[in-house]
């Protein structure tokens, strides 16, 4: 088994259009959730979100590219450029032949679906652009990254709702750990902040109209976000031999299925994923200093997640820190685990624990150290990243300081 390290990271999300900008916002506990701006927003009852603003695709991509790149692909390419540039890797020969792209997304090109349905149903048009299908398909982002960087190894897209990115990164980790690939590009992206995307979520009645307040007794739902997080996972000796800057080590993962309900989370399913990741990483639970929570800010998730953590960690649950950065960047659905992995890297590399902002009232059902409202400087050795999806599909990653 090979060791796997992270040698590049990139992002774009409501907190910033690069990793340094995003980490600075997380350190400061800044909220990126604002009033949504897009067509027909006045017909929505939910009007807030972690929307990426000040991003002008027309200034970055040419006209031909724009006809092929949905917003989720644009986000992916921006983040991939930052990550791959940072890694310093250039892909050719054997390295190119075995390096692939495994990404997560739940919805793929949602705004492309939305725009073209509008065109044929509302505007009564009988013809759509020839590239609608290659633009909206869930694997479009992974394919464009592979084409742009000459990545000819195993590439595909994982779609497991809110756990998509963690499933994708787990898979990429397993490929490098097994020796199958020297490096993998992984992470995920989402862009559902358009009329149809938000309207669909509204229907479920789990969205907050004012703020995402994970673990707070007065929490009243989730807030959607958008963006991408992309990483370069590389085999340790390969990275060391070329003197790469190593951000953190990925040491284990676990995936479980609740096999119970299509929307309600299960404590057992979550707990099995958390303890499974510890077993896979061969670490004792006392070593874990921080957990980046799934922490959606819904009544159901937060209490179930806290109960699962308490079950797995026993008395150590009171000693570790657990925070949800969704309070700042919103819930990026299929891209969320990827952006949240940045908080894990910041904890390990910089010794800064991102806070859960918007925390107002303690909830006895979430009685853990949720790092309320202000970042904390603490050195930690091991961290976990939780993701628990609709459909009862869970994926947890374990990382270590290098």
């Amino acid at each position: 088994m090979k060791r796997v390290v992270i040698t590049g990271a990139g992002t774009i999300n409501a907190l910033g259009q690069s990793v340094p900008e995003t980490l600075e916002a997380m350190r400061e506990g800044r909220c990126g959730i604002t009033d949504l701006e897009f067509r027909d927003v006045d017909r929505l009852s939910i009007k807030i979100g972690g929307q990426v603003k000040g991003f002008e695709p027309e200034a970055i991509f040419n006209r031909q590219q724009l006809t092929l790149y949905d917003r989720f692909t644009q986000f992916t390419l921006m983040a991939a450029q930052e990550a791959i540039t940072q890694s310093g890797l250039v892909f050719s020969g054997e390295l190119a032949a075995t390096t692939g792209v495994v990404l997560g997304t739940a919805g793929g090109g949602v705004s492309t679906w939305d725009d073209n349905y509008r065109s044929v149903y509302e505007d009564g048009k009988n013809r759509v652009h020839p590239f609608v299908v290659p633009k909206l398909m869930n694997n479009a982002a992974a394919s464009h990254v592979s084409m742009q960087y000459n990545l000819k190894g195993p590439s595909f897209t994982v779609s497991t709702a809110c756990a998509s990115s963690n499933h994708a990164m787990s898979q990429a980790f397993a490929m490098v750990r097994s020796g199958m690939s020297k490096a993998m590009v992984t992470g995920g992206s989402e862009s559902m902040l358009c009329f149809g995307g938000v309207k669909a979520w509204e229907g479920l009645r789990v969205m907050s109209r004012d703020a995402c307040r994970p673990f707070s007794a007065n929490r009243n739902g989730m807030v959607q976000g958008e963006g991408a997080g992309i990483f370069v996972f590389e085999e340790y000796e390969h990275a060391r031999a070329r003197g790469a800057d190593i951000m953190a080590e990925v040491v284990g993962f676990a995936m479980t299925s609740d096999a119970s309900d299509i929307v309600m989370p299960s404590k057992q399913g979550a707990a099995r994923a958390i303890s499974g990741a510890l077993t896979d990483a061969r670490i004792s639970r006392e070593k874990v200093g921080y957990i980046n929570a799934h922490g959606t800010g819904t009544a159901a998730n937060d209490k179930t997640e806290c109960a699962a953590v308490a079950d797995v960690f026993g008395t150590h649950a009171d000693a570790l820190m657990i925070s949800s950065t969704k309070s700042m960047h919103g819930h990026l659905i299929g891209g969320t685990g990827a952006v949240e992995l940045l908080a894990c890297i910041m904890a390990l590399r910089d010794g800064v624990i991102a806070p859960t902002i918007g925390y107002e009232e303690p909830d006895p059902e979430c009685a853990l150290d949720v790092v309320p409202n202000e970042a904390r400087e603490v050195k930690v050795e091991y961290v976990l990243s939780n993701a628990f999806a609709f459909g009862g599909l869970n994926a947890v990653l374990a990382l270590r300081r290098v």
């Binding site: 009852s45 229907g203 479920l204 009645r205 789990v206 907050s208 929490r219 009243n220 739902g221 299509i262 929307v263 309600m264 819904t298 009544a299 159901a300």
Partner: protein
């Protein structure tokens, strides 16, 4: 059709019961309607009466809409229907 009859029909359909089994003092729990079924009921009622029900699945107790029994649901809907027509 009056509000109570329609609401009982909608709940009965969701609970896979006969309308007669949905009584004024029935609770959704006693009828076997779970949280997802409740959200579906609310949607069907909104469609039937063309109203918006202020309901948040995160904190049903704190929503400005009482779902503790079939009776309170009917009262709440009657009020919204009256507000709409007045």
């Amino acid at each position: 059709m009056d509000v109570e009859t329609k609401v009982r029909e909608i709940i009965a359909e969701q609970a896979l019961l006969d309308v007669e089994e949905v009584q004024a003092d029935s609770t959704l729990e006693s009828l076997g309607v779970d949280s997802l079924g409740l959200v579906e009921c609310i949607f069907a009622i909104e469609e039937a009466f063309d109203i918006n029900i202020p309901f948040n699945a995160n904190n049903p107790e704190e929503s400005d809409f009482d779902i503790s029994s079939v009776k309170t649901i009917v009262q709440g809907i009657q009020r919204l229907v009256d507000e709409k027509t007045s």
